[in-house]
């Protein structure tokens, strides 16, 4: 269970990015949404240890991890899929999956992780994670790495971005099967209605503050009806167009 107590994060001495965030994550799927610039990615980075909060405490299963490094948190069971995955010259998909799993990955193991994200292990396992991979491929490999880790807390920063050729239904299935295996919590930053639709809890961040927190049934209608649902409305429209094209 993850607990954030009065988390604040300031840069340049006074510019406040996060203000007094109190949040408990205990459910299967928790979605964080809200307008751009609201502090969603910053909050994910504070949880993963990439940023150190300027105030407040972070507890993981009751243990204070506020001052632990990225590495220590990773070892305690925090995984983080970047919004923009990193490229590495010379490191192969197999290498990163092995590092993520903490052991050498066989083609069979890799097949398990990569097929979940719709990639064929044979084609990808020896590919370098460099500029030869498309943004969408990188994004799926990033998700596969979190699957390979199988930790109790997994954070995904806009996992849907760039994977439009693959269906959302598959992405949702990935999250569901991941939960079956880890029984941990999955924290997803997203604007996508279909991802918000599977959340047990929805958190709305706005201007660095917790605007709303609650069960999906209670929060989602308000989010969809609000002015900052722009991104979502667009994605609903694109999805409809895609479906239309597919059917028609």
């Amino acid at each position: 269970m993850l607990e954030l107590q009065h988390i604040g994060y300031e840069v340049d001495g006074n510019k406040e990015i996060l203000h007094d965030i109190n949040l408990t994550v205990n459910e299967r799927f928790v979605a964080i949404t809200g307008p751009n610039g609201g502090g969603k990615s910053t909050l994910a980075k504070v949880i993963a240890g990439i940023y150190t909060p300027t105030s407040g405490r972070i507890l993981l299963d009751g243990e204070d991890i506020t001052n632990l490094s990225i590495t220590e948190r990773a070892k305690l069971g925090v995984s983080y899929a970047f919004q923009q995955p990193v490229r590495f010259k010379g490191l192969r998909v197999r290498d990163l999956l092995s590092l993520a799993a903490g052991k050498d990955t066989t083609v069979n193991d890799a097949c398990g992780f990569l097929s979940e994200v719709g990639l064929c292990a044979r084609d990808y396992i020896d590919r370098e994670i460099d500029a030869s991979l498309s943004g969408g491929e990188l994004k799926r490999i990033e998700i596969a790495m979190v699957l390979a880790r199988g930790t109790k807390l997994s954070i995904f920063d806009e996992p849907e971005a760039g994977i439009d050729l693959w269906s959302f239904q598959n992405l949702i299935r990935v999250f569901e099967s991941m939960y079956e295996k880890t029984r941990g919590s999955i924290l997803i930053i997203s604007h996508q209605e279909r991802i918000l639709n599977i959340a047990d809890t929805i958190v709305v961040l706005r201007g660095g503050r917790l605007d709303k927190v609650g069960p999906r049934e209670q929060i989602l209608p308000g989010v969809l009806g609000s002015a900052d649902a722009g991104d979502m409305a667009c994605s609903i429209l694109t999805d409809k167009l895609e479906e239309g094209r597919a059917n028609g």
Binding site: A48, I50, S69, I70, T71, A74, K75, V78, S79, Y80, F82, P85, V86, F88, K89, G90, L91, R92, D95, L96, L99, A100, G102, M145, R149
Partner: protein, 305 residues
């Protein structure tokens, strides 16, 4: 052969015992072992130190090992090795030099290799340089490689210098006839106060000749590196040179690629990039549970793989 020599041999040629096929092992300035085959002859030069390696035309799927090891402190030598590779051959040549210096004097091996690659022959040349020993004496290596490529020939060179060589000037020149193709993969890592200069020149003289030089280097501590590449397109040809370096600590890296086109259908490209390890790369690997140092090692190992 003692343990130190055996270890050097393992490092430069990945040999635990005598290799299969033709070989010539040079240890502390003299011949330690030699084997020739029906298709590959090795002859000691009479006018200067070194050997001629003569590979009969049409020889396929055979290899030659010619490692050099120096474990005597203060030994300096210049060795001339000439390779005559007959037409239509398909062979692998494994060279390498290992120096163990635990004395006060400098040890130095300067190998001058000339390759005469026959028509339509294919050669894969692998060379590894390695130094060890904690003496004050330096370990110096200055390899010169001259490649003459006849029509339709293909040569792939893989050169590696990862550890322990204090000072190196690597000079490679090549001339390519019509349809010849040269591929070079160079890997260098320098540490401490080491200095490495890599100087390539390729003359693309025949129609359809092609050359691809790829250098990946890591410069750490106070080390210095200079990468020079010159491609001269004298015919309708294609050439590409790429230097990619990771710079760390207080190191210094200089890349000076040069292209010269003397024919309207010469197509030449150079790419050079120098930069430190991206913070994002370190963070990504740390989120997988690696420490910062482990992450750095993984990134460098991958880069130089």
């Amino acid at each position: 052969m003692d343990e130190i020599q055996k270890n050097l041999l393992r490092e430069v040629a990945e040999l635990d015992s005598l290799p299969v096929g033709a070989y010539n092992i040079r240890a502390n300035g003299g011949m330690a072992a030699r084997n020739t085959t029906a298709d590959i002859d090795i002859v000691t030069k009479t006018d200067k130190p070194g050997i001629d390696i003569i590979i009969r035309p049409g020889t396929k799927k055979q290899s030659v090992h010619i490692p050099v090891i120096i474990s005597e402190a203060g030994l300096k030598e210049v060795v001339y090795n000439d390779f005559f590779i007959g037409d239509d051959c398909d062979v692998v040549i494994i060279a390498g030099c290992g120096i163990h210096n635990c004395g006060g004097g400098d040890s130095e091996h300067d190998g001058v290799h000339q390759f005469f690659v026959g028509k339509n022959a294919r050669v894969r040349y692998i060379e590894k340089h390695y130094g060890e020993g904690d003496g004050r004496g330096k370990r110096l290596m200055n390899p010169t490689t001259v490649v003459h490529m006849e029509e339709g020939s293909y040569m792939e060179m893989e050169t590696t210098q990862i550890a322990g060589v204090d000072d190196t000037l690597r000079k490679t020149t090549a001339d390519l006839a019509a349809g010849a193709s040269l591929v070079v993969h160079e890997k260098v890592m320098t540490t401490g106060d080491q200095n490495a200069v890599s100087d390539f020149t390729a003359d693309l003289n025949g129609e359809g000749a092609s050359c691809n030089i790829v250098s990946r280097t890591v410069a750490r501590d106070n080390s210095r590196q200079h990468f020079i590449s010159r491609l001269n397109g004298n015919a309708p040809c294609s050439g590409h040179t790429e230097c990619d370096s990771i710079i760390m600590d207080q190191a210094h890296v200089l890349a000076t690629p040069q292209l010269e086109a003397n024919n309207i259908d010469a197509s030449l490209i150079h790419e050079a990039a120098i930069g430190k390890i991206a913070g994002e790369q370190l963070i990504k690997l740390m989120t997988l549970g690696l420490t910062e140092q482990e992450a750095e090692e993984q990134i460098i190992n991958g880069f130089l793989k």
